[in-house]
Amino acid sequence: MTSRFENVKNIFIDSVERNSYVELESAQHNYKLLEKSLEKPLKMILLFGKPGTGKSMLLNKLYHNLKESREIHYFDAPILSEKEFLRRVYEAITDKAVPNELRVNFDGLLRFCQKLKGEREIVFLLDECQLYSEALMEKIRLLSDTRVIKFVITLHKTENEDVIAKQHFKTRIWEVIELSNASEDDLYIYIQKKLIQQGFVEIGNMIRKKDIKFIYTYTYGNFRESNKFLYTLFDIYEYFDEVKPHKVSTKKISKKFLEMAALKLGYIDG
């Protein structure tokens, strides 16, 4: 027999699935900003924020919302090889496959894009751009200069990350949208919506604000960390539901299980 908590924990698996996107006020605001920026004659748009603040989710949502209305391409995983990157860009623009034995000449691609000026406007969504090499980033910059290709890139905000500080980036990024962690209230809404969207209303009712407060103490509202916490919590629930069901209350979240989850994730020392 499958425990009901097994399905609950699975909704907190970290993914950028469109159906797992939760509409939050702060996320909505950022999305509108992003849409407006795409309308502007900008060469590059930067989505900036710590890991787990919803950058990929926002890009994913943008792609799915706009793919029917405009020419938009989404590279959800970073393409580290320059050859591969150019090939993917060429294929996206021309809609033609490049034979494996051939490679795309960057100068040729640049001239091709220049010819398309005024005719087409193609948007490329690039996730995890902090992994791209500097040489590749330079090529991306040159491609954006043609005003045919517009790049929306995401960058992790880390201590050592200085890509944004580089001159060639500074002069081109005209719009920077910074994403931050959720507030305690946002986190509460996020979890509730996530559970209710998947039909777990009863579980949603079990979670009280003080439980969210406990989780927030350790995750600081980071979506990825919070999802991980809830996944662990419901994993523990699943175990007790199967082995010691008398210990599982369906009225409220057990403090013991919350603490066990925090212990397991290393938030508190055992």
Binding site: D235, I236, Y239, F240, V243, K256, E259, M260, L263, K264, I268, D269, G270
Partner: protein, 290 residues
Amino acid sequence: MDSIKELEKRWYFYKVKKSLYSINIFAFMGMMSLASYYTYTQVDVIKNLFNKNKLVAEAKVEPKKVTIEPIIVAEMVEKPLEEHVKSTKVADVVLASKNEGLDGSALHVVSLEPVIPIIDMEKENRKVTSTKRVYKATRHNKKTQRKMVKAKASTYLTASELSTIKHEIKRSNRSASRNTENIKKINLNGSSVNYIETMKKKFKMSKNARDALLLAKAFYAKKEYSQSEKWALTANKLDSNKDESWHIFAKSKAKLGQKNEALKILSSYYKKSHSPKTKALIVKIKTERL
């Protein structure tokens, strides 16, 4: 599954650790509260100590300003020494503030000579007694002489009667002078053990305040302060108007380390007696020059 079991064990350890931490915190807070309470209850004692030190310092710098608190003095003024001894507590002793005087005026410091030895006092007392006796005898002789003059021997007495009278006069004069000589020859050795024993026997017989006081002095001179205190108290019980009994009692107290009590007793007696010796003794005790 095993990992969850293991996790549960870890959680139990975590709870125990957390409980111990909370217990430690509570214990620490409890100890702090007790310490605060203890400190708070000791404030009066600390204050008294502070005042005591302050007064001693003041007395050393400005001995003329040493005064006695009127309230305490007023309460004690009419009580005999015995009652003061019973009612006095060290903690209650509050010494005077420097601006308050007994009669509103600054008091003079009377420098006292060291305590007069017992022999001298004895001599003094005996001198007084003998003087009285001599005086009486002289007065008696004078009276006799006056009578004799008045009698006018040549007019009323025969020659044989007159010679008898003259002989009587001579004899009485001789006896008077012999009395004086005898008194002068009395040897009072106050420092000897025999003296104390003798005085004790004497006091047993006489129950006299003077004898008790002499004993108190003798013990004080021998630095047996608890005994001197006891005998001074006995003397005071019998006669509370003797300065010496108050002084010896207070000095004994001071020597026994009960300085505040000694000062309180002397203050009350000074209010009553206005004795400069008492005042001087107060200053001596305060400035620890006893």
